[in-house]
Symmetry: C2
Subunit: 393 residues, 2 copies
């Protein structure tokens, strides 16, 4: 039967979970139901879904381009989490894994790098509490001691990861002002010696990245980049924030240091990376899935980067559903370097799917089942909710 | 059955036709055979296929990304003609039209513009003969009289086309030197008045484009662009050749005229269009299918153009097989303007498929059958070959 002769599939309903709680970084999962009984799994950024239902119910979920250009791109990253469910539906309909719908995988497993955060895994609440305590005490929190970073690095590398990342814009008693973005000499010393100790601890061949989250002024951030050149970082991430009209500032840093500069987790869509590329303002891109895009926009971003001889190392902080979509997408990108794992401290990440603990020795196998190729373990997920709260509504 | 559990499909053989003759612009068709009995249709740029067979036989035709990045991109446009056959195979395997494999069509029919060439349809041999005769006689060939252009325009518009294109870098007695690329005053007058007469003949609402094939010097080409601004061309194509290291020259023209500048039929792959975009050196792109790419690279080129607020109007001169692949690709590009039809003077174009004369009132319906959604009429094609010459070998 030709496509033209088939009745089009139709979306009949959409359901989402409540927030799975602060300890699970407020993930919310999404299901798209169809009149053929196929259900697609995606991720929702939270909030009401009435408008989303109005857009999508009655539409053909298999024409992903059309839904993207009609609606989802306007929702930016919120729409990209929904797009994941459309690829899942389409793959299940055709009995083909998502990577085949993207032209075919170039690799069978995906290299994952572990975001170790610092000597302690990061949560937003924790980070703010530690800043307050540090300001009150004038003492460095033990989890930000160089030795704590080194312990964490050894622990994570022992799990088989070939690449790790640490944050070094952390609470410290040497920051002279709560608002000004300068780095004091003492703080600079702590940052550089911690990176030196990390490199020494993990040896010369494990990849090491450092994230500064755009926390600092240009001159101070540049000095960090220069002073760690001998430590051969895989990348230094976001030395400054360029996103609001200051590509030239990042270009200035990038053109003065051999430390590779990586950025890209803030903006949605390839267009927002264009000027960055034109000005040779970075060396790698780390678009967030789905915040920067789903398969459609992430592929565009990767292909743009490739035109400028750059690799991509996608960022993501969402659940393992987005993680598996990311695995499919990354398997099809020629210039893929590594995929972030931001959830080592979140047990649910490893238990929420039918495949348990998908990361083994720092890699995730690319699923070959239809669509995303994974299913939810709803019993495991339900434990994140208070008793009596329904999982889907 | 999961993809991982299936035996991969394998390419078992490749066959091509001989050149279908000068009158059919030396088209050569291609078939890829598989161990599942599925046959993919593509187009071949001519010459021996031993190396192609070595590359592809035994490989899985359904992983198009892998074959593209392993081999086909290195063959540039020759490889892109082969890529078409891979999409045809994949679509037939999944019982899905090619446009669905590219994420879904955004439109059901494709606007076609007719390349009218001049007062006479172009062939390479004809063009060269007319130049020789014109130089010998010192007279303008009647097919290049303004009145001949006007007749052709009326004839083609009567067929329902909403956009037409003419060449105006044609044999003429006023070109002062066979090699120098200047435009004489008399020649300039002929070009501009012909465009004026064309606009008058077709009225204000039919789109009109002019192709100069990069035949002229910058200053003379710019003067043409400026002098026809009041005629509201859809585009003026290739006022100069920028392709060999002279993007700045085209940018200089483009930034001085409101006449939209279109280019892009020479190079393969999105990377070659990057500098053109960065320098805002044109207003539209006309990548050739498959010379500039198959679905993979044409989509990249279109998406690059879209980042710079440009539409694409793909060029192609090949057979209706490439034409139908182009229709599928164009149906999925948001920034698609119109597809070239270069073969109005080639009867085989309209008879070689199971669907006869696919262009109706200036549009082609997007096929919804599996793969390309068309088949060859091999009896019709065989008439292009001398008796006894086999169609496939």
């Amino acid at each position: 039967m030709f496509a033209s002769e088939r009745e089009n599939m139709k979306i009949t309903d959409i359901k989402v979970t409540p927030s799975l709680g602060a300890e699970n970084r407020h993930w919310s999962l999404l299901k798209i139901f169809t009149d053929e009984g196929i259900v697609g799994l995606g991720e929702w950024a939270g909030g009401p879904i009435e408008q989303l239902k109005q857009m999508l119910i009655g539409r053909d979920p298999t024409n992903i381009n059309q839904l993207h250009y009609d609606h989802l791109w306007q929702m930016q990253g919120r729409g990209a989490g929904v797009e994941i469910a459309l690829w899942d539906i389409r793959g299940k309909q055709l009995n083909a894994p998502m990577h085949e719908l993207l032209g075919g995988k170039l690799r069978d497993r995906i290299r994952v790098y572990c975001d170790c955060h610092s000597g302690a895994h990061w949560t937003r609440e924790d980070y703010q509490r530690r800043w307050q305590e540090t300001r009150a005490s004038g003492q460095l929190d033990p989890v930000y001691e160089t030795s704590a970073y080194v312990s964490m690095a050894k622990e994570v590398v022992a799990e088989g990861y070939t690449a790790i990342k640490f944050d070094l814009d952390v609470p410290n008693p040497w920051k002279l002002d709560a608002y000004d973005r300068s780095i004091s000499r003492r703080q600079h010393h702590h940052i550089v010696t911690t990176i030196e100790s990390l490199r020494q601890a993990i040896g010369p061949y494990t990849d090491l990245s450092i994230d500064l989250h755009g926390s600092f002024n240009l001159a101070d951030a540049l000095r960090i980049c220069k002073d760690v050149e001998h430590l051969d970082l895989l990348w230094l991430e976001d030395p400054i924030r360029w996103e609001w009209g200051n590509v030239a500032a990042l270009a200035k840093i990038c053109q003065q240091t051999e430390t590779p500069i990586c950025t890209g987790e803030i903006f949605y869509g390839a267009k927002m990376f264009r000027e960055l590329m034109e000005q040779q303002a970075c060396d790698l891109l780390e678009p967030d899935i789905p915040h920067s895009g789903g398969a459609i926009e992430i592929r565009r971003i990767a292909e743009l980067a490739e035109m400028y001889h750059m690799s991509v190392a996608p960022h993501y902080m969402r659940s393992a559903i987005t993680g598996m979509a990311a695995v499919h997408i990354c398997s099809t990108l020629p210039n893929f370097l590594a995929l972030e794992h931001h959830s080592r401290n979140i047990p649910l990440w490893g238990t929420m799917l039918d495949i348990k603990n998908p990361i083994q020795q720092g890699y995730i196998n690319v699923p070959d089942g239809p669509g995303l190729g994974v299913d939810l373990d709803e019993e495991a997920i339900a434990t994140a909710l208070p008793a009596g709260v329904p999982l889907w509504s």
